[in-house]
């Protein structure tokens, strides 16, 4: 009896421990990048005559220091989870999805229009709006996928180009056929019953969109590690040669990976419209798609990492306001710090010089969840 018991425990324990070691190893690297970046930030603060301790203290306070602050952080983080996942899924297939910005806008306008028309259906309307925007993003994301698979057009350039096409298209739609009669340029306000409800009183305007984001992250995890499609996407991304020798279709998976990415980024836009603004006004919030790239990179292209990365980005943006308010350090400093983090995370050799050779091995560790 005890012998039968031994086998499952034996295989689970070392596997779990190895997973933990992998996770720790994968996270140490971004952590080092963050620390170095903050050190640089401290230097900049000193040079411009500010006190780093109070400044960073204000930053932390503004990000996590009170329920309202946490609410702000969650509010900022939510769309970033979606756009981060959009980049991460594509990366798993070996593709660069730089088109999150355009996909975000396409999702936003779709949700705004469908939400405005179906607002009277309450929660059901909200669900339909989200479904519509996911579909729109799927189709939009399939375009560069298709161009790559069948024409060999590199997805970096096509997604960048489509960003602008998407932004302008959404802007046009919001300002012309679907324009509301109100003072603020943009679409009709969506019925209150069809909006995403708030999370809790103390958390300010944070809404259940964050929960949706977590669900999306869980769905991405399941997709990548528990479905046939995800298996193929990962195989194609890690070794197109072996994948095609095993009979997997490279073209199909390319299109699907980018389409799913588009879908996720679009949901981010839809969440902003349905949960935060209630409409799509022009100008609409920008750079969420681009920042998704940084979030995905920091999070090592894993759903859990993306959530953590989004919280970091969101927290820094939320805290920046407080920092500027209390200490006169301009809030744009956080953008600078985030850019430095990005540079450090990708320049593995540089961090290696600073921290030693072991960092290189850690950088190579991909966070592969497999439990």
């Amino acid at each position: 009896m005890s012998e039968e018991r031994r086998e499952p425990e034996e295989t689970r324990s070392p596997a779990f421990r190895r997973w933990m070691a992998n996770a720790a190893g994968a996270l140490i690297f971004p952590l080092i990048a963050i620390l170095i970046s903050f050190a640089i930030g401290a230097v900049i603060m000193l040079v411009t005559g500010n006190n780093p301790v109070t400044a960073f203290g204000a930053l932390l306070r503004g990000a996590f220091g009170s329920p309202l602050a946490i609410g702000r952080t969650l509010l900022n983080a939510t769309p970033l989870v979606f756009t981060g996942l959009a980049v991460a899924v594509a990366f798993r297939a070996g593709l660069f999805n730089i088109g999150g910005e355009g996909q975000f806008f396409i999702g936003a306008i779709t949700a705004a229009v469908v939400g405005a028309y179906l607002g009277s259906l309450g929660v059901f309307g909200m669900v339909l709006a989200l479904a519509a925007c996911a579909l729109a993003g799927f189709l939009w994301g399939a375009i560069p996928g298709f161009l790559k698979a069948y024409f060999g057009a590199h997805e970096v350039i096509t997604t960048i180009m489509l960003n602008y096409v998407g932004i302008y298209l959404a802007t046009y739609l919001a300002l012309n056929p679907f324009r509301s009669e109100g003072l603020v340029p943009g679409t009709e306000a969506i019925d209150l019953t069809a909006r995403i409800p708030f999370l809790a009183a103390g958390l300010g305007r944070a809404n259940y969109g964050f929960v949706f984001a977590l669900v999306a992250a869980a769905a991405v995890y399941l997709l990548l590690w528990r479905t046939k499609r995800g298996f193929e996407i990962r195989a194609v991304g890690l070794s197109p040669g072996a994948a095609s020798y095993a009979g997997m279709g490279i073209g199909l998976n390319t299109v699907l990976a980018l389409a799913i990415g588009g879908s996720l980024a679009a949901l981010g836009g839809g969440e902003e419209v349905l949960g935060v603004y209630g409409k799509m006004s022009i100008p609409f919030v920008e750079n969420i798609g681009f920042n998704g790239i940084g979030v995905a990179l920091l999070g090592r292209n894993h759903p859990v990492g993306v959530i953590l990365g989004a919280i970091l980005f969101g927290g820094m943006t939320a805290g920046a306001q407080e920092m500027q308010f209390s200490t006169n350090v301009p809030l744009q400093l956080t953008d600078v710090l985030l850019a430095v983090i990005l540079l450090l995370v990708t320049a593995t050799k540089l961090v290696e010089l600073i921290v030693g050779k072991r960092a290189r091995a850690l950088a190579g560790t991909r966070l592969e969840g497999g439990l």
Partner: protein, 520 residues
């Protein structure tokens, strides 16, 4: 290929000419493998020295040392009697050594003249003297009979002409010692003739040439002396006029007999894998497999011997359904599967162990259990309704890995962390444990340690005794001989002969060098 008199193309006067290059006692090891083991060669002025040996014999390493790409562990190099140290290719070039590699380093969108002068451009003030470059090219071209159009784009040129550009590059830099690495591998017979004419012009002008090849017939036609290298050391140096094909073949190919694995008698049954007039194109559009017909019966191992690059890869790929066949048919257990891809063929019981295990056989960054299910991930019990069940995959992988002696037998270990031999065994575990009927194994023991080699050989023989049909493609003659029941030799995409495992080194060597079987 036309018959060549054994006698060489030049007179024997060169042997008295001064020694222009000597490499003495060169040794170079990569880890435990000694690529060059105390090799010494001499090159006289105005001579063509052939460097003959199989793949992996050590010829390329020796020449890379000469060209400054590697530093020898020991030994010395003398040019015109003076000892020199060659630190990098720039150094080598400045000492008059020019090398034409097997894989050209030409820039397709640029013109011939631009490619030739790159790095040593003629100038007119600030600008590039394009006219000067063209003129220099024309002069060299005329002098040595290397016909090229200086203004043509390299991308538009045939391979033979591209090679001339590579040679012109070395001449432009005033090379006196020219090394050609497998120059005829990419040439048609006509282009080969043209090349030989050029080489004769070059030596008449006082250049000295080292001609590296495995095609001994050609060496007989062009060289003055031949140095044969085998397994990292020099076996012999002969005067071309005093040798013949049979001797060269024996010197090149003969080796110490390795362990021969016990082979039981089996009675081959029906053909389970057959190819009929199969034509497969290479990535460059040439006919890599040229109307090949063969059949493999159940309970038999058919070995395909031949030098690397004669169509083996394309043949294996086409039989497995990974590569498209231009024409011809493939049959699996009597069924015409030519139109089917690799997935359906795998479902019909075809297993494929590809020669490139690193990038085609395994996903290096996948865990072993994921690699183990690389072809079965979408079938029950590993998958249902689109979901996959890693737990089931892990369990099956654990069994397979243990059965095939993969070390460590850890389903979670990443493929990359395993040694070459264990990676290969993991592939075997995947392919064989599904009980296939037909197995295509391409270079199954390349880069694998001796212990794993023995294991893999035993596995193949076991499958054979269970009645599977096995097609074994290998560059290792001993392996082919010890495992196969029948052997076919492939050369330039065609099957040039079939022999039994008891064929002599000479017979095999000749076939591998392209001599069709002659009835005696």
């Amino acid at each position: 290929m036309t018959e060549r008199e054994a006698g060489g193309a030049t007179t024997g006067a060169q042997a008295e000419a001064p020694v222009v290059l000597e490499m003495r006692g060169i040794t170079k090891a990569f880890g435990p493998v000694k690529a060059n083991d105390n090799i010494s060669i001499t090159l006289h002025r105005g001579e063509i020295l052939g460097l003959l040996g199989e793949n992996g014999a050590g010829k390329s390493t020796l020449m890379k040392i000469l060209y400054g790409l590697y530093k020898p562990d020991s030994g010395a190099i003398f040019i015109d009697g003076e000892e020199v140290e060659i630190h990098d290719p720039k150094d080598a070039v400045s000492r008059g050594i020019g090398m034409v590699h097997q894989h050209f380093t030409l820039i397709p969108p640029l013109t011939v003249a631009e490619n030739i002068v790159l790095g040593a451009e003629p100038r007119k003030g600030f600008s590039l003297d394009l006219e000067g470059a063209v003129k220099a090219t024309e002069e060299l071209s005329e002098r040595y009979g290397l016909v090229v159009d200086p203004r043509a784009r390299v991308a538009d040129l045939s391979v033979g002409v591209q090679q001339r550009v590579e040679i012109l590059k070395t001449l432009y830099r005033e090379a006196r010692i020219l090394v050609l690495d497998e120059p005829t591998a990419v040439l048609t017979p006509q282009e080969t003739e043209d090349l030989f004419a050029v080489l004769k012009e070059l030596v008449a002008d006082g250049l000295s040439i080292i001609f590296i090849t495995h095609k001994l017939g050609e060496l007989l036609g062009i060289s003055d002396r031949i140095t044969i290298i085998r397994d990292g050391h020099v076996v012999a140096t002969v005067v071309t006029a005093e040798t013949d094909e049979r001797e060269l073949a024996r010197l090149m190919v003969g080796r110490d007999v390795l362990l021969r694995v016990e082979k039981t008698e089996t009675k081959p049954g029906e053909p389970r894998l057959a190819a009929e007039e199969l034509v497969v194109l290479s990535n460059t559009g040439a006919r890599a497999v040229d109307a090949v017909s063969l059949e493999v019966r159940s309970g038999e191992i058919l070995g395909v011997a031949g030098v690397d690059g004669n169509g083996q890869t394309e043949l294996a790929d086409a039989l497995a359904g990974v590569r498209y066949a231009e024409s011809g048919r493939v049959y699996l257990d009597g069924e015409d599967v030519t139109a089917l891809g690799s997935d359906p063929r795998q479902e019909r019981g075809l297993a494929y162990v590809p020669e490139d295990r690193a990038s085609k056989g395994l996903v290096q960054d996948f865990a072993l259990y994921e690699n183990n299910s690389l072809k079965t991930y979408d079938e029950p019990p590993f998958s249902r309704w689109g979901w996959i069940f890693p737990k089931v995959m892990r369990r099956r992988a654990a069994e397979n890995l243990r059965a095939y002696d993969v070390r460590p037998p850890d389903p979670e270990a990443r493929a990359r962390s395993l040694s070459g031999g264990n990676q290969q065994k993991a592939i075997l575990a995947r392919e064989f444990s599904d009980d296939p009927g037909v197995i295509i194994a391409s270079q199954p023991t390349r880069g694998v340690d001796v212990g794993a080699i023995e294991f893999i050989h035993r596995q193949l023989l076991e499958q054979r005794s269970e009645g599977k049909a096995i097609l074994l493609i290998s560059l290792e003659l001993e392996e082919v001989r010890s495992l196969s029941d029948r052997i076919v030799v492939i050369y330039a995409g065609r099957i040039v002969g079939e022999v039994g495992p008891d064929a002599t080194d000479e017979e095999l060597g000749l076939l591998m060098a392209g001599r069709e079987e002659k009835s005696t």
